[in-house]
């Protein structure tokens, strides 16, 4: 619905019996929360009901809208229902249920069917829209779309249009501050607010979890007198919201960006539930929005309130003092290596340091070689991984995939503030250079599975040992929790279970939480250390399958995909067998761009990074900044 239609609807509802509607069906939406505040939709709903109208809400949660409806009906999840859809070109798509409904909900199709007195089940409805032939139908279900059902393209001719006229384009708005409302990068418009995974996944740019904040540039903050991590009031006319401020390097001046989807009052026990006195997470900025400028508000007044607000940020980045900033600037070129095209063309191995060439003779002792040493298991594989920084966008899908695959707990805002988030692979985001126009560098860091791992040496009970295939194995049931391994890891990829983060799942009534866990991975108890295992459960599954079939022990490249690799949208992460000459990971390791992070510590990581090649157009301002930072 566009803005004017929404306004019209709200007005109609307010008319009650005199208006055009008697019943309002709200299917899988939450307008009482996420519509722009000026529509005052809650008032419209209540007015509608008060005047005899009936509001029926079908939704996954008893959310804000359900609280203002006469009827709330539980909806079956998309994974539990039959559904169909239409692609952009008219192709019919199919949706199948994965599992019987956990809570006996109904799908949207069934709801509409019931409303229109259509007695068919959702499955029958969807079947009716597909091809009649059974075989074709099975193929359609398998592929997810009905082949050949695209609409026929229309012949159109283009009409010449006058050149667009742009008004005065100034870098900063003339009056007040511009506020841009964006859907939260993880919880969207709020529909996924109650998912702890998403609340705790740090925003790729701000690294903020569990809250939204008003992002603004340093210059704007200075001119307004706003300090980082303090509350500000954004007001336009009679409407205002109070939100914490986040000083963001590289943000445009005169503008504030804030995410939607937070501050919900009826999302659930994770994100806020007034009925059970659970505080809302984050701040609801919908009251500030107007229906005709739902994603951008101009002329907003920003008033600093001075009250400090704790923001759960996983990287204390620029809040660091001068010494920290200097330290960071000094070492960044060594950690996240980048080069221009010219550099790469001149010397493809520009990212390598002397340490990258250290071989077996770099040590004072005879290095252990499982391939020849009789006391150790003979390895059939040599696992390794490579992450290409050139194609990594910093989206953090790897972080969530890893959390899903490996039963990584959600720890909550207080624990993130303390620095105890549990993600095994994290997306490090650095700013380099001028804070007003910085270069952003992203680097996913997981366990490097070092061949000479510093963590293994110091564990008193040998809870972390090296497999002959190259994996650094963390043995949970041997760990007594001295945490020396975490201290000695220079990459700080080890996570410690400071509390029993899974105790909620053991409470009566929370059984269903256990279903979220991957049955192939141990759920760690309090007091043990954990870290990336190169998805050892997937490696073992492939190994067992191969052995069952008594095939040649070589597992074909691509059979084993780690969760992070599987979910990476750009394919930056490759994992495989370095013994396999044709494998992707072997090629990546032999790529001249590859380098080991902190190679000079002689840890010999099996997880190499491929240096990023930046290629800005010479005419763009970024190119000049690029020069300054890379060679500064």
């Amino acid at each position: 619905m566009c803005a004017s239609e929404l306004k019209a609807l709200a007005d109609e509802l307010r008319k009650g019996q005199d208006g055009a509607y008697r019943n309002l069906l709200l299917l899988d939406c939450n307008p009482a929360y996420d519509l722009p505040g000026d529509l005052e939709f809650v008032g419209a709903l209540e007015g509608f009901r008060g005047a005899g109208g009936t509001v029926i809400h079908l939704g996954l949660y008893r959310d804000e809208t359900a609280g203002h409806a006469d009827w709330h009906l539980p909806m079956a999840h998309a994974f539990e229902t039959w559904a169909d859809g239409t692609a952009w070109d008219g192709t019919m798509t199919t949706g199948q249920p994965l599992i019987d409904p956990l809570y006996a909900g109904r799908s949207v199709l069934e709801m509409l069917g019931w409303w229109t007195k259509d007695e068919r089940s959702a499955k029958e409805q969807v079947r009716a829209g597909g091809p009649a032939d059974g075989k074709a139908w099975r193929r359609a279900l398998h592929d997810g779309l009905v082949a050949g059902s695209a609409a026929a393209p229309l012949q159109v001719s283009a009409k010449a249009l006058p050149a667009p006229q742009f008004g005065d384009l100034s870098a900063t708005p003339a009056d007040g501050i511009e506020v841009r409302f964006m859907p939260d990068r993880h919880i969207g418009d709020g529909r996924w607010a109650n998912l702890g995974w998403l609340q705790e996944l740090p925003d790729p740019m701000t690294k903020l979890t569990w809250d939204n904040a008003a992002m603004m540039s340093f210059a704007t903050a200075a001119s307004l007198g706003v300090e980082h991590g303090t509350m500000v009031r954004l007001s336009k006319g009679a409407r205002s919201v109070e939100v914490p401020a986040y000083l963001m390097p590289g943000h445009a001046d005169g503008c504030v960006t804030i995410a939607l989807g937070h501050g919900r009052t009826a999302a659930g026990h994770v994100a806020g539930l007034d009925d059970d006195e659970i505080e809302p997470v984050g701040f609801d900025v919908n009251p500030l929005r107007a229906h005709d400028s739902a994603s951008l508000a101009t002329g907003v007044a920003v008033e600093p309130l001075g009250k400090p607000y704790p923001l759960a940020v996983t990287q204390d980045h620029f809040a660091i003092d001068e010494i920290g900033t200097q330290g960071r600037e000094q070492r960044l070129p060594n950690l996240v290596k980048e080069g221009s095209v010219a550099e790469w063309q001149q010397e493809p191995r520009f990212a390598k340091s002397a340490a990258d060439y250290w071989g077996k003779d770099s040590n004072l002792w005879q290095e252990l070689d499982p391939e020849t040493d009789d006391r150790l298991y003979k390895p059939k594989h040599k696992w390794g991984m490579a992450i290409d920084l050139s194609s990594c966008t910093g989206c953090s899908a790897c972080t969530i995939a890893c959390q899903a695959e490996n039963n990584i707990p959600v720890v909550g805002k207080d624990q993130v503030i303390k620095g105890r988030e549990m993600h095994w692979i994290r997306m490090d985001r650095y700013f380099a250079g001028d804070p007003a126009a910085p270069k952003v560098m992203s680097q996913p860091v997981a366990c490097q599975h070092c061949e000479m791992a510093p963590c293994e040496q110091v564990c008193p009970v040998a809870a972390t040992v090296h497999s002959s295939e190259g994996l650094n194995d963390m043995v949970y049931n041997r760990c007594i929790g001295t945490r020396y391994c975490s201290n000695n890891c220079p990459y700080k990829v080890r996570r410690f279970n400071f509390f029993d983060y899974n105790e909620d799942a053991d409470q009566p009534g929370n059984e269903v939480m256990k279903m979220a866990a991957n049955p192939e991975v141990t759920v760690r108890a309090r007091g043990v250390m954990e870290k990336c295992s190169f998805c050892v459960q997937r490696i073992e599954r492939a190994r067992i399958a191969t052995r069952n079939e008594d095939r040649d022990s070589r597992i074909p490249d691509g059979t084993i995909e780690t969760a992070c690799q599987q979910s990476c949208p750009t394919g930056s992460i490759v994992f495989g067998d370095l013994m396999d000459e044709g494998s992707q990971v072997r090629k990546a390791h032999e790529n001249p761009r590859s380098y080991a992070m902190l190679a000079e510590l002689n840890n010999k990581p099996r997880n190499l990074f491929l240096a990023r090649i930046r290629n800005p157009h010479p005419a763009m301002p970024a190119a000049a900044a690029e020069e300054a930072v890379t060679h500064g």
Binding site: I323, Y430, A462, T482, N487, P490, K492, R494, F496, V528
Partner: protein, 471 residues
């Protein structure tokens, strides 16, 4: 009769010409015995003892409560986080172990150097060592995530066929600290036996005669027994000397064998040992100065003892200061960016206040002891000894926390703050220490009676024995 001569208790003469006597006042063997044993035999302890003991037991209760809370809830009740996985408990561990070393130094090393003045304070400090090591040993035990399986650090055959990893410095710690505790305990007990026999022989009540008799093993002071006893004492002293050096070196290996900038330096073993002696002597002073007043031991723990301890504090304090300077120099000279940053960060980063407390308490304040007036001003010495221990606690804090809080990757930099549980656990450990110490003061001879008698002038025969037949 034994000759005795009167010397004012507070006099300290020019030691190069005529060292002050080790036992001041008009004392002979009997009065020494009486001075020390009367404390144990007194029907009621001095009032101050009850006050201190009461506070100590209360703090001990707090410690117990904190440990129960910790074990039932998780290590997260402390301020530890990623990357600062070691916080106050490890700082407290190194602090207490360091304090313990002074006792062995006084007992063993000063014995080997034939320093007679050790006899006034060695019983005291050996007891302090044992109680400090108990407090120290508690911390690694409770700081692990799963205390109920901590026995896996010992090479005990188990159903998993697993053995501990002997290459780990933490395991070296286990062996070193347990050996240190056992040897110190044996050494202390061995020294106690003749004195317990003394109390047994003076005992008026049956209970006292039974218990002191039991623990004095039937000692009668036979010279043939003294002969072997002295041999064993010498051997234990000779063993304890490298032991005390090795134990704190092994504790320093917890840091030195890691890769972290600021930890990974070879100066740590001697630096830690010097620091341990530094803090240990300070603690001996903190305990001895009030105790000698409270229990009337001024003639046995004289100003000469106090002054010597102040001099040792100054010497080791300067060694520690040298180590600080060396670390800075090496960080700069090495050209290693991480190492250099680590030290600039210590002095000027978010924990600069801890660093400067450390420097002022450890390096600057002990310089006051160049002045004899300062060394003999008991109030000043007492206050200084507390400063020294505060400084040494902060030293361990600076070492542990600043290197962890900002190490290689800036993305993992994070601030550490302690929680109330951290604070109460530290206070509680003082409660444990003082409870044990007060019990020691009340029920055991605080001064090594037989050893003090041995250094009195009356103990040295003028008669030189002639060689004769064996008997």
């Amino acid at each position: 009769m034994a000759d005795s001569f009167t010397v004012p208790a507070a006099a300290t003469q020019d030691e190069r010409v005529f060292p002050a006597p080790l036992v001041a006042g008009t004392n002979d063997f009997a009065s020494v015995t009486e001075t020390v044993c009367s404390i144990v035999e007194a029907p009621r302890a001095p009032k101050a003892w009850y006050v201190i003991f009461g506070i100590a037991v209360a703090l001990l209760g707090v410690l117990g409560a904190m440990i129960v809370y910790l074990v039932s809830t998780g290590v997260g009740v402390w301020g530890n986080n990623q990357p600062v996985a070691w916080g106050w408990p490890i700082v407290n561990f190194v602090f207490w172990v360091g304090i313990g070393h002074a006792g062995t130094l006084i007992s063993a090393v000063l014995f080997l150097f034939r320093q007679g003045w050790r006899t006034g304070i060695n019983r005291f400090s050996e007891a302090m060592t044992i109680f400090a090591v108990i407090c120290a040993g508690m911390f690694p035990a409770i700081h692990v995530g799963r205390i109920w399986v901590i026995w896996w650090v010992f090479p005990i055959p188990n159903q998993m066929s697993m053995w501990p990893n002997f290459r780990s410095p933490l395991l070296w710690d286990v062996f070193a600290v347990s050996t240190y505790f056992s040897v110190s305990l044996l050494f202390w007990y061995m020294g106690l036996v003749p004195d317990l026999a003394t109390i047994r022989d003076r005992a008026k009540t049956k209970a006292r005669r039974f218990w002191y008799g039991l623990f004095s093993l039937g000692w009668t002071g036979s010279n043939r027994q003294w002969h072997r006893y002295e041999r064993a004492y010498l051997i234990l002293a000779a063993l304890a000397t490298p032991l005390v050096l090795s134990v704190h070196s092994v504790v320093s290996f917890d840091f030195a064998t890691s890769q972290l900038p600021g930890w990974h330096t070879t100066i740590f073993p001697p630096y830690f040992v010097a620091g341990a002696i530094f803090s240990g002597f300070a603690m001996v002073l903190t305990l001895a100065i009030p105790a000698r007043k409270m229990f009337g031991l001024e003639d046995l723990i004289t100003m000469r003892h106090i002054e010597n301890m102040c001099k040792i504090i100054m010497a080791t304090g300067m060694m520690v200061g040298y180590a600080y300077a060396m670390e800075f120099f090496m960080a700069w000279y090495s050209g290693n960016t991480y190492e250099g940053f680590a030290f600039v960060n210590r002095a000027f980063g978010p924990y600069w206040w801890a660093y400067w407390i450390m420097v002022s308490c450890n390096v600057i304040s002990p310089q006051i002891f160049w002045s004899k007036k300062a060394r003999t001003n008991l109030t000043l010495v007492f206050i200084m000894s507390i400063f020294v221990n505060i400084g040494m606690w902060f030293e361990r804090f600076v070492i542990t926390v600043t290197s962890l809080n900002r190490d290689f990757l800036p993305s993992s930099w994070h601030y550490f703050s302690p929680t109330w549980v951290d604070v109460l656990t530290l206070l509680g450990s003082f409660g444990l220490f003082f409870t044990l110490f007060m019990l020691f003061c009340r029920w055991l001879p605080q001064v090594a009676i037989s050893e003090v008698k041995n250094v009195m002038p009356q103990a040295h025969p003028h008669h030189h024995p002639s060689e004769g037949k064996e008997g």
